[in-house]
Amino acid sequence: MGEFNVHRVRFFDYMPSAIRALAFQPQRERIAVARTDGTVEIFNRADCFFQEKVIPGRQQAATEALAWVGDRLFSAGLNGEIIEYDLDNNKTKYTIDAYGGPIWSITSNKQGTHLAVGCEDGTVKLFEVHEDRIQFERNLAKQKGRIISLSWHPSGSKIVAGMMDVIHIFDTETGQSVQRLLVDRGVGTSRSQECVVWSVVYLSDGTIISGDSAGKVKMWDSRTGTLIKSHQVTKWDVLTLSVSQDETSLAVGTSEGHVVQFQFLSMVLGQEDKEWVRTRTFKNHTHDVRAVLEVNTAIVSGGMDTQFVVRPLLDKIDERGQASALRNIQFPHRRLVSCARKAGLLLFQYPGHLELWSVLTVKRKPEKLLHLKIKGEEHICCSAVSPCGGWIAYSTVASFRLYRLHCENNNVSIIKVSKLPKVLSSANQICFSSDSSHLFVASTCSSVHVAILNQSGCKFVCTLKPKSGERFYLVGNDMQRVIYCFRMFQPHCTVPVHSSGVSAMAIHPTTNNLFMVHADQQLTEYSVEKKQYTDWSRQVQRHGLHSLWLERDTPVTNVTFNPKNPAHIVLHDMYMFCIIDQTLVITRLPNTRSQFYNQLTLRSMPEKERKKHSHAFKMCKIFKELLFVELMEDQSLVVVERPLMDITAQLPAPVRQKKFAT
């Protein structure tokens, strides 16, 4: 295979923001994640927790809570607004003000007819959910103090609200408070501080479970208003609770970074009397666990340390596989870096700005050529630099911008292309053709706009509709998992649907084969010319992939090809990059008996024997925490790393640090 010069880049200061809320949609098995910068991400539980959608955030967004109503996703935040998201187009559908000050919580009833929000001014506001909007219905009896947490009784007739030092139960019919439960403050110094009921859960049997800032999880009887049991879970705060669908298991997130599981078990074998018993403690976080979810076979948690952790409950899983693996999602499942292969430029996408760096000059140190701040509050949702390095495009939810870039020696000049075609208003994906002559913008309503780029500017060519490209341009529509191929701006063919979403794909420049990598780690190659899977792809499917390949828990986020050797395909995920040699696959695809990660073994072998033992997958695990890998024109590799240590170093200090022997 040979030697590669590797540009190991670590100056992309990507910083994910903290997870604030999680919500689970059981029918479609989608998990919505809200981050502190207002970003909402949708993960597909059934598809290896693949990050399907990202709705970019905005400045001063302060999302506090998420709620699903059927397929519709709502959020509410400290800016006092309720937002419904348009999940088809990855943007906000509408925003309405609740007029109750900052909103601390939002929750829907099981019937999906109403939303309740808890406001700073002490009111619980009920909203009726209509087809296209939500409508304010009424306030429940106003209380003194803010409403921190809410939970509906599954019947929908009662609602429980956690406040400061007190929990109220409201009758949704009359709107009156029917029970008032006093919560004890902590002992010691925290005695003087109000006890915040961070989270409440109302179970169908009338039990209320609360988690508070005194570190206790308390079980209450809502009929009598009495405390049944109190568990001291932590010295600090209990921040979040989540009960499983069948109400037999409860996950508790604490500010120490622990997730504690409670289970509803009978104390004596064979008897009916059941009690909530503390069973397990998971320590996957270093900081506050702000949100936790009980998702049937796993506990999903997220918090200040920005990690999205899926901890499988092994007692509910029978066989070893994707579901039984602990997942820790740190990086987004999409590209934040784009690369001008010919010019040797790297474009880094930050939420509020873009940075352009020059690499590929062995003699000079890499330097920052450009720092492009965006206007407005919206965060960038996608960006791209053209292969020649002459164009930069980015898009937010509200606007699309294209710049002409001139780089000569040290002089960088940038000109905004002013007259853009009107259809180019926003984009979900931006792509330049390999000769930089065409711009493709994937936009709302599953349409792709095509424009020609030349010295004078940008000229709109046509819109590709799903039913209706430059040669071989493609857009993956993950929602319907249908891939359309267009040829000469005419629809060409449809790629057969695979059960798992596409995490990365590319069309080979010489063979016109479409190479796809799926979230479940399967590889497929589709010949556009022949409108069928290639022989290589069929062979791979027949052999099956090596189990070690399938067990990787991060999806491949980029596919590129070696311009010198068409048989080489470069892939990478967070922990490795890999060059697949398609010439080798016929004879030796790694099977379970052969060593998969064999680079070290091969190195120690004499040259003659290497051939006997080598296989198609050239795995390289030297570089870790990869955000981007690209093979440049001159056969050198650019590797963008973001060490997790550097991310951790930027986090605030945790409340508790594990010291040796404590």
Partner: protein, 696 residues
């Protein structure tokens, strides 16, 4: 623990002159003091060299009325003569007469030097001035704070973080008051000092600043030492008119012997220790010429020194040295107070098996001491109801011990022990043992061994409860009891430990063979036997390592009985620094024998023979090594010059060298393993680097 070290004489005291003006004040550095003496002379001494650096006298007819102080900001000395004349001079000045002098309008009681500030002048009638402001206008009128009859008895300036406080106490018709003068803003607060229940008077005061509060310590002629805590900042402004009594707590009740104390002084030397002069030693009769260090936390006497000649009841303490005038000399006694904790008070290596006994023994030792001094406890005992009428009271028993025959006493003690509650025993065991020991000392034929054994085995006895018991057992060669005491007493002084060691070492093995030493003996037997077994039996290899090179001369250098007793000595708690001087009392043959034995033990232990021997008490390897080190420390020069010791020292040296080598090799292994671990970790790389990788 605390200890007084060897004292030395700083200077001779003059006979003449009023005592009140004798004073020692700190000079510019820690090693210099200003001594005002005999009403006429001021001398600066370098303490470590014991020599005067400068001396000034006033003219005949004049008299120093306030001791000289050093003024740090101006580097001058200040003294008051004839109550109103302030004299200021420098080091270079040859005569005070030629130096600066100012006459002030009121009588000065005392000058107080304060670090980094102008000295304070306290006038006889309570007014206070800074020296610089006073000298700026010497004839300024001085207000009278105190009434005519109120006389200042003591004064002190206390420097806190930012604030300065002047304290002085007055006496007026038997009424004692304390004044607290604060500066900026000036405020004077008066407190009443309650006297003791009897008509005793305060003899000495001492004020220290600690943890944000002023701790005032005062000693009454009845022997009570009280402590009052004054807050550095007054929380409530004092209500004029009412004089409140100063809240106080009894820190210590010193034994006074007959009569009251007359000239005595107490001085806090650290948080938990006070030095007392002029108070009798609790165990040495009525003589008051002692300097004692008491631990106030545990109420124990830590160290004492008898002083020759008249005691003036004066005491100073600067930089770890006590200054005591007595007879015709001024002695300097360096001292050391270690951090006071129960563990420290008990010495090193406290035995885990007897943790319960430790606390008990401490308390019983306090109780018995108090008991000796006042009779309250006896009254309590008399009043306590008894469940068995036949059982004698402790009081009766003590009387009986004085006269009864050995058998009677034996029987009585047995009955008493059977019939008493544990709490009572705790209070009385020490007293009974003391009584028994006294009788034994008085009457050489009287020795109720069984009674002693029973008393010791109650676990309520400790060394401080009956200090002479252990020595008595040695005198009577009762090694069984001696072993028991060594096992059960947690507070044996190092001197006594050494005494035991010496006696045991000097005894012939044959004489010891009759003693029944139970468990200790079994351990020794097992230890010597395993040597034989392992020599011929499974001297095989462990992990491929053969022990052959270590199989040196393995015969036990002492008899089994002696060995067992020595093992007990090894397990006695001690403090290094306090044991070392006493170890020097051993003679060379004893040291050699002991070292040989320790080497024998160590070699045995390094073959891990001991771990296979089930024994309740056995010395640990650390204990053995500590003793070897201490012995060598104490006797190294002597041993180096003794031809007999040569082979022993060489073998020890050889052994140590091999151990050092082993550890250095282990260190290297550790280092290389560490390096291996590091090489696995990714090396530090910067923001950007170009690397070459090869894929196959």
């Amino acid at each position: 623990m605390a200890a007084l070290y060897e004292s030395y004489t700083l200077c001779a005291l003059a006979d003449t002159g009023p005592e009140g003006t004798r004073a020692i004040e700190p000079d510019r550095d820690r090693d210099r003091v200003v001594i005002t003496e005999s009403g006429r002379a001021v001398t600066v001494y370098k303490v470590s060299d014991q020599k005067p650096l400068g001396s000034w006298t006033v003219k005949q007819g004049q008299c120093i009325t306030s001791p000289a102080v050093y003024n740090p900001p101006t580097k001058e000395y200040v003294v008051v003569t004839d109550e109103k004349v302030v004299r200021v001079w420098k080091d270079e000045d040859i005569s005070i007469e030629k130096a600066f002098k100012a006459t002030v309008s009121a009588e000065v009681y005392r000058l107080h030097s304060v670090p980094d500030r102008e000295p304070l002048v306290l006038f006889r009638h309570g007014a206070v001035r800074f020296l610089d402001s006073l000298l700026a206008a010497p004839q300024q009128t001085i207000e009278e704070v105190l009434s005519e009859e109120e006389v200042i008895r003591w004064s002190a300036a206390v420097q806190m973080e930012q604030q300065l406080v002047l304290l002085f106490s007055t006496e007026q018709r038997g009424q004692h008051c304390l004044y607290v003068q604060r500066f900026s803003p000036n405020a004077l607060v008066k407190h009443r000092l309650e006297t003791d229940s009897t008509n005793s008077t305060p003899l000495s005061y001492a004020a220290t600043y600690r943890d944000g509060n002023i701790h005032l310590l005062y000693l009454f002629s009845s022997g009570s030492v009280y402590e009052s805590v004054l807050q550095a900042r007054p929380t409530v402004p004092a209500v004029s008119g009412t004089v409140q009594a100063l809240p106080r707590s009894l820190l210590l009740k010193l034994p006074v012997g007959e009569g009251e104390l007359t000239a005595a002084s107490a001085l806090p030397v650290d948080e938990s220790h006070i030095a007392v002069v002029g108070v009798p030693h609790p165990l040495a009769g009525a003589g008051k010429d002692y300097l004692c260090l008491w631990n106030t936390h545990f109420q124990t006497l830590q160290a004492a020194r008898e002083l020759a000649g008249k005691i003036y009841g004066q005491l100073w303490c600067f930089s770890g040295k006590l200054f005591v005038p007595h007879g015709k000399i001024l002695s300097v006694i360096p001292f050391e107070c270690q951090k006071s904790s129960l563990a420290a008070a008990m010495g090193k290596l406290k035995q885990t098996s007897g943790t319960n006994g430790i606390t008990l023994s401490v308390w019983s030792c306090i109780d018995t001491r108090r008991h000796n001094n006042d009779n309250t406890l006896i009254i309590q005992l008399k009043m306590s109801t008894r469940n068995q009428s036949s059982c004698p009271t402790a009081e009766q028993l003590a009387e009986k011990i004085k006269v009864g025959s050995e058998k009677e006493v034996q029987k009585q003690v047995e009955e008493f022990l059977h019939g008493s509650q544990p709490e009572e025993l705790q209070l009385t065991a020490g007293r009974l043992a003391s009584a028994l020991v006294m009788r034994c000392q008085a009457d050489p034929t009287f020795y109720p061994q069984a009674a002693f054994t029973q008393l010791v085995q109650t676990n309520y006895l400790c060394h401080s409860g009956c200090p002479d018991l252990l020595v008595l057992t040695l005198e009577k060669n009762d090694f069984r009891l001696c072993q028991l005491c060594l096992q059960l007493f947690q507070d044996i002084p190092e001197a006594v430990t050494c005494c035991c060691l010496k006696t045991i070492l000097s005894f012939q093995d044959s004489e010891l063979e009759q003693v029944d030493l139970e468990d200790g003996l079994l351990f020794m037997k097992a230890l010597t036997q395993t040597a034989e077994v392992s020599d011929d039996g499974d001297s095989g290899q462990h992990n491929g390592f053969s022990r052959e090179p270590l199989a040196l001369d393995m015969s036990c250098p002492v008899g089994l009985h002696k060995g067992a007793l020595l093992n007990e000595v090894l397990q006695v708690p001690y403090s290094d620094s306090l044991l070392l001087p006493h170890l020097k009392d051993l003679n060379v043959p004893q040291v050699l024998l002991f070292l040989q034995y320790l080497r024998f033990l160590y070699l045995k232990y390094s073959q891990d023979a001991h771990s296979r021997i089930p024994a309740l008490r056995k010395p640990t390897v650390t204990q053995i090594m500590d003793w070897v080190c201490l012995l060598l420390d104490a006797h190294f020069t002597v041993l180096a010059l003794t031809p007999e010791a040569k082979s022993l020292l060489t073998s020890l040296h050889k052994f140590v060298r091999s151990q050092v080598k082993l550890y250095s090799e282990l260190g290297k292994i550790e280092g290389s393993l560490e390096a291996l671990k590091k090489s696995k970790q990714s090396r530090e790389i910067g923001q950007y680097s170009i690397e070459v990788i090869e894929l196959f």
